[in-house]
Symmetry: C2
Subunit: 358 residues, 2 copies
């Protein structure tokens, strides 16, 4: 605490990302990274962009990348906004579309950054309680509000809402913006982007961090009506004109281009997920139906904390949230088949030891 | 304008960076980029960082880069904050140290982004008028206020304030933060960083975009008392946990390490600047004393706008501000000797044609 901080800085509770310990080499299943490296074409494009032109500012409008995304999703270039990871776009969206006087709505069990943004920007908000099946109660999101934001699939549950249900949510909220945070959409869900031209209040946010294996690159994008995109640009250009560096622009463009590679690896991850779910169930886990690159699971006998701590000792990191209602769950990123085999083996070991102690 | 924007987004006037036209190849002397490429060691480090690990998030604490900067400036690691360009750090600083109820002070002719930040974050501010010599009237910055920010050297004037004068400014403002924006400090000035341990209210902000030839990389850093740095981290971690990508981290680290290269090229730029100043004066320009990688000059007969437009036709971009008191000036980045020779030649041509028309 410092006398030089303003009141806001004193009172906020910053977001805490998944741990990145450096004490030893872990199998990292805690931050939903992709277990497969980015496409070779991405690496090649990035290497080519490492040259003397780095002395010059990057294109502040990210026009080549924008054009590539426009082409991929059959959109106009002015319907696309590029940001330094989808987190930056989320922050800018809270600054652009939400106001102090109207309550925004988002799920109580969801991406915890939403609450951080709402508090940072002094917004009124209401946490809408997931039902007993950990589903988002969509009817609750249709009551009077100042904006809605949900991840689809939701994190950390992994649960997916179909497009028809989301259409009715967007229609019920015509007077405010509905943000669908599709960070995990490529692992089994269907993007709302195909309905974008039907709604001028829909903002879809995606990232290259998950399905495109580029968490280390920091690029996300938002898709929406050109007026929404213009609003985001007004905020961005009031904070930082150049948020994406030259090499990241080149890599992101190549990643969108090489859709074949990305489709292959997402398929592989989905296949591994289905296998892991079965194995976990055999080990007496309850696993929520996931359409993402992670599963959310609780054990019928052993506590989440116990398993988390024991896995860490065994060299495997998963995400544990010490939070009401989900403190018995673990969020486990889907790694390679080999990594998941090790996970299952370690779990079997930990649980059988636990059994002995009971 | 959209009904979905909040009031703030409607009313802000975003920053407008220097033009980046794509219609033809220009000699770019308009955005204060370095004319020399980054060090080969930087490019090599970046190429090495382009690998499969891009699938993983970067280190959110930027610890290796922080440690390199700490080593270079003989500081502790907790006295350093890394940002996505110094603009992002400036924005975070306005969010961390300034409050709505107390007027912050900055010069009327200065980096125009300060005003944008103040308005975006609803801060009270007062523009302190530069004197007739375009100097910042430091006494005016000692009156009661809620914080002070100045660039040193100032942009777009290029004028530098010595460290003794700044020490007295910082001492007179013990109860609030004084930010010295040292984007251009390496071209002849002395950084305040060496006095950092004497003051807990001093924040120094620097960038790799200018003297380190890395405008295309988007890395800046702030140096200050650990409590100030902690405040910045609280804001950063409430917006975006990972702002610097893996390749940028590697390049920035190598750039700080290779101080020899950076010293060489800044010396070259200073030498070119001194030569250009003389040439401009011979052509009847008034050139303000510059300690930066640009000069601010007005011609005794031809208007700034006329020269700017004619230079653009001739393939040379300089920065022209259509703004009271400085609308007869041009801000000209110092390029290579060859680029500046062409500039002088084109100016001679333009001015002699102008002469004929008078």
């Amino acid at each position: 605490m410092s006398k030089y901080w303003n009141d806001k800085v004193r009172e906020i509770e910053p977001y805490v990302p998944g741990e990145q310990p450096k004490d030893r080499k872990y199998i990292k299943l805690n931050t939903n990274e992709n277990p497969y490296p980015p496409s070779d074409k991405v690496l090649e494009a990035m290497r080519n962009a490492v040259n003397g032109d780095l002395k010059l500012y990057p294109d502040p409008t990210c026009s080549e990348l924008t054009s590539e995304i426009a082409n991929y999703y059959k959109l106009d270039e002015n319907e696309i906004f590029i940001g330094n990871g989808s987190d930056e776009i989320l922050a800018f969206s809270f600054m652009t579309f939400f106001s102090k006087n109207k309550k925004i709505l988002f799920p109580d069990i969801s991406y915890t950054f939403y609450k951080v943004y709402a508090e940072l920007f002094d917004l009124n908000y209401e946490l809408v309680k997931l039902d007993d099946n950990f589903d988002i109660p969509l009817e609750e999101l249709k009551k009077t509000n100042g904006g809605v934001i949900i991840p689809n699939p939701n994190a950390p549950t992994g649960k997916y809402i179909n497009t028809e249900s989301l259409k009715s949510l967007i229609e019920a909220n015509k007077d405010r913006v509905v943000i669908i945070d599709e960070a995990y959409i490529d692992f089994g869900g269907q993007s709302m982007v195909k309905y974008m031209h039907e709604y001028d209040n829909l903002l879809v946010i995606q990232t290259l961090s998950k399905s495109r294996s580029l968490a280390g690159l920091r690029v996300g994008f938002a898709l929406g009506h050109k007026d929404l995109i213009e609003g985001l640009n007004r905020i961005k250009n009031s904070i930082n004109s150049y948020t994406i560096d030259r090499v990241a622009l080149a890599g992101a463009k190549a990643a969108i281009q090489d859709s074949k590679y990305f489709e292959e690896i997402t398929k592989k991850i989905v296949k591994t997920r289905e296998k892991v779910v079965k194995e976990l169930e055999k080990l007496d886990f309850r696993v929520l139906k996931s359409e993402s690159n992670f599963v959310f699971a609780s054990h019928n006998n052993a506590s989440g904390k116990f398993i988390y701590e024991n896995l860490k000792c065994q060299g495997i990191l998963v995400r544990y949230f010490d939070k009401e209602r989900i403190d018995n769950f673990l969020r486990i990123t889907i790694g390679t088949n080999e990594e998941m085999d090790i996970l299952i083996e370690k779990l079997r070991f930990i649980l059988s030891n636990n059994q002995k102690e009971l």
